[in-house]
């Protein structure tokens, strides 16, 4: 009994740990997708943010890391909006170029600033009282601050998207930008704002990779998490709550992978490593038909 309980606890914490950066990034992507921008630069944003967070943490402590990560995400998103919204360049091309650029930049920054410093990770914040509860206490109330914020953000962002005036404008901008224009909404301003927001969240998500999941930066450590976040956004049917479910599912696949690595299947580790990605592809295939996919997704809006 004790053993099963332990296994379950470990499994769930591993799930949450993997899910948090995916979810955090996906929450921003849900917003930018809904406004009609496919922010495929998420991968690069997370990578630069991960290294920025490590640098910030090494020189100014974990909060400095979080701040630097958020700023780097914002700056990256600003570049992305300049090309895709102001210059109306193709979002996929700009995003891909940005990702390649980010891969190089993160290595350079790593070697220049992180050669011989110590990086402090995000500290755990046990919630007084609740964390003392048997079993669930440790599981749900003994995490880093960013983890609580991420999960609290889900219902909040769901509310903003569906019940607020801003959310209505965002959703409308991704569906029929011309109709928005006809009622006086500045479509490109809405889109810019939303992409910048998603940049900040991608930045924080990146910081969790280097400061939450580890306490160090390793080159290439984001390893497709930005793309996974895009998949989470689609699989979650472009809603914050859906994204949470999807992120936890992928997290579970990842946790399952680690469980299986310790069994006799462990010798097939290359295949086990594919598991989360395989689940992504299969789930996207199965769910491709029912969709809130915005009609104007990926199309620049040009006022006549």
């Amino acid at each position: 009994m004790e053993g099963i309980l332990n296994t379950l606890t470990n499994f769930i914490s591993a799930d949450v740990r993997t899910a948090v950066p995916l979810l955090l990034c996906a929450l921003g992507l849900v917003f930018s997708e809904r406004a009609g921008i496919v922010n495929i630069a998420a991968e690069g944003l997370m990578l630069i943010a991960a290294v920025s967070a490590a640098i910030g943490s090494a020189y100014f402590g974990p909060w400095g890391g979080a701040l630097l990560a958020a700023i780097s995400g914002l700056a990256g998103a600003l570049i992305f909006t300049f090309f895709t919204i102001t210059l109306r360049a193709n979002q996929i091309v700009v995003g891909t170029a940005f990702n390649i650029f980010a891969a190089g930049l993160s290595v350079t920054l790593n070697r220049r600033f992180l050669a011989d410093v110590t990086v402090t990770g995000y500290p755990l914040r046990a919630i007084p009282g609740l964390s003392q509860l048997p079993f669930v206490g440790d599981l749900f109330f003994n995490w880093q601050l960013l983890v609580y914020l991420t999960f609290l953000g889900v219902p909040l962002l769901q509310f903003v998207l569906y019940r607020s005036n801003l959310g209505l404008k965002i959703r409308a901008s991704g569906e029929q930008p011309r109709a928005c224009d006809s009622v006086g909404i500045k479509v490109n301003r809405v889109r810019t704002g939303v992409v910048l927001f998603s940049g900040i969240l991608a930045g924080l998500a990146g910081s969790y990779v280097s400061l939450g999941q580890a306490s160090t930066f390793i080159e290439g450590m984001v390893a497709g998490k930005g793309f996974m976040a895009l998949a989470v956004c689609v699989f979650g049917n472009y809603t914050p709550v859906g994204a949470m479910g999807a992120a936890l599912l992928f997290g579970a696949a990842d946790a399952l992978k680690y469980r299986l690595l310790t069994t006799e299947l462990g010798s097939y580790y290359q295949f086990l490593n594919m598991l989360p990605y395989l689940i992504t592809i299969i789930s996207l295939m199965l769910l491709s038909h029912r969709s809130n996919k915005p009609a104007a997704s990926g199309k620049p809006y040009i006022k006549e």
């Binding site: 019940r163 607020s164 005036n165 801003l166 209505l168 404008k169 959703r171 409308a172 569906e175 029929q176 011309r178 109709a179 928005c180 224009d181 006809s182 009622v183 006086g184 909404i185 809130n292 009609a295 006022k303 006549e304």
Partner: protein, 514 residues
């Protein structure tokens, strides 16, 4: 007395536009246009396709941002650079292509973009206000319905209510009847009367003369981007006067009696054709008909009774369940579109932008879409640009397509010119069978006439023609024979010699008559 009221009205124009000029690149769409609209009147803006009606109204509604000239609203000079300004001034516009978001609810569409919305939306309160408003104008609409579930007529009402909800005093209706069924048109006219009674001013954009005669007080006629005339409808004796002002020369409105050179053997034979609709329901039920060379067979019926699906089967866009489709004795059932094109089937589709043209491609490219593999236009897989250009130039001239460059995208043409482009391509192929669906929809008198004459010339050359249109009058004018379709079956047919409108009406409503 009458004189006096006319003068008091004229003394307080709601809107004056003076010397409006709008250029797109080197093309002048509007040249020094003056328009004056009085408070409480229904003012028609009449003109051929491409005459500048929509452009003028888009300037007024701030859709362009820039224009030359002055606008006076309630006597005050205003500069309208975005639609927010226009809305704040009390101007509302119902665009020809509705500005609605299909996946959202009615009420979400209504409040979208309103400047006095609270941060957290109170949709329930908005819905109450909306319902009150819709009752005032007798325009019942469920605020919680999704827009995609509404009929076109309901969507139009929603657009009108959306403007009224924003306290619009002036409503611009851009070709509002183009998308409506005849019953819906009557409903719209009632709404316009009610708006007028409530003191609203309406600008009614149209090229349908009888509608303008019926509901408008005054009209301004645009021709080639300039004002041809402004006059009171009461001064107009007959619609020929308006038509002449619109097209610049006398247009006779009734088509010539079509002389018959019918062949004796059927060229097209369709037997027991059945197919399913988008939701798997049986929508065409064992349809059989034949068309002889040089014959125009009209199919009429209320939209949605299987006409679209029938056409899709005949043009290779939909799989038929069973039946025969013989053209000159050759079986073509469930052949793909390319094989059908090769066999001499031409198609003027219902939706020219979706199925007729590649809107982003140039006029030249659009004109060879069906025949780009022909040796005239391509050799060893390479396009022959000289020949393509000459062909495009010749076709555009022959069909009177107004364009600024053969390289410009088809999307830039006005609706009428786009339709001429489709007709030019499809008719130039010398088809054995021509399937024309709503070929004059959205066209002005001159352009519609032109397209119809082009179709009649194909008839004289012995093409078998299937003609489908929304307006009964049009189908009756054009066809040698009419079949009436209802719920996927033919209710009966009538030959040109003894048309009976009452009987056709009965059949359209579902009464079979042999």
């Amino acid at each position: 007395m009458q004189q006096e009221t006319e003068q008091t009205k004229a003394a307080r124009p709601a809107l004056q536009m003076k010397g409006i000029t709008k250029r797109f690149g080197s093309f002048t769409a509007l040249n020094q246009v003056d328009l004056s609209v009085n408070t409480g009147e229904v003012h028609a803006l009449l003109g051929e396709n491409g005459a500048g009606k929509s452009t003028l109204m888009n300037c007024l509604f701030g859709m362009y941002g820039q224009y030359d000239g002055e606008i006076y609203w309630q006597g005050e000079p205003v500069r309208i650079t975005d639609s927010q300004t226009a809305i704040r001034k009390g101007i509302g516009m119902v665009h020809q292509h509705f500005m609605l978001i299909p996946v959202m609810t009615v009420i979400e569409n209504v409040v979208l973009g309103m400047t006095d919305n609270h941060w957290v939306l109170d949709l329930k309160a908005a819905a109450r206000r909306f319902t009150e408003l819709s009752q005032t104008y007798h325009l019942a609409l469920d605020p919680w319905a999704k827009v995609e579930q509404l009929s076109v007529g309901q969507q139009q009402r929603l657009e009108i209510l959306k403007s009224l909800y924003r306290h619009a005093r002036l409503l611009i209706l851009d070709e509002p009847t183009a998308v409506l069924t005849p019953e819906e048109v009557d409903g719209l006219f009632e709404i316009i009367d009610r708006l007028k009674a409530e003191g609203h001013t309406v600008i009614f954009i149209s090229h349908k003369l009888n509608e303008v005669m019926k509901i408008c007080d005054r009209c301004t006629i645009l021709r080639n981007g300039s004002v041809a005339a402004t006059l009171s409808i009461s001064q107009v004796r007959n619609r020929e006067t308006l038509a002449r002002l619109m097209v610049g020369n006398e247009t006779d409105l009734d088509l010539h009696e079509t002389d018959c050179h019918l062949g004796s053997q059927a060229l097209l034979e369709v037997k027991q054709l059945s197919c399913r609709g988008d939701y798997g329901q049986l929508i065409c039920k064992q349809l059989s008909f034949a068309i002889r060379p040089g014959e125009i067979l009209g199919i009429c019926g209320v939209d949605g009774n299987g006409q679209r699906e029938l056409v899709e089967c005949l043009t290779g866009l939909r799989q038929a369940e069973s039946g025969q489709y013989l053209l000159g004795g050759r079986e073509l059932l469930n052949c793909d579109a390319r094989q059908l094109l090769k066999s001499g089937v031409s198609h003027i589709p219902e939706d020219r932008l979706k199925y007729g043209l590649a809107p982003g491609m140039s006029l030249e490219e659009n004109l060879i879409l069906a025949d780009y593999k022909r040796s005239d236009f391509a050799r060893h897989g390479w396009l022959r640009s000289g020949r393509i250009r000459r062909q495009a130039m010749a076709l555009c001239q022959r069909f009177g397509v107004r364009f600024s460059s053969l390289k410009q995208p088809a999307a830039e043409l006005s609706g009428g010119n786009q339709q001429k482009l489709v007709a030019a391509r499809e008719l130039d192929r010398q088809p054995r069978l021509l399937i024309a669906v709503h070929p004059s929809r959205g066209l002005d008198v001159g352009a519609a006439r032109f397209v119809q004459n082009a179709i009649l010339s194909m008839k004289r050359k012995g093409t078998a023609i299937l003609y489908i249109a929304g307006e009964l009058d049009e189908v009756m004018e054009m066809s040698d024979r009419i079949l009436v379709m209802y719920e996927g079956q033919f209710m009966g047919q009538q030959a040109r010699a003894n048309y009976d409108r009452t009987q056709i009406g009965l059949m359209m409503a579902g009464t079979p008559i042999s």
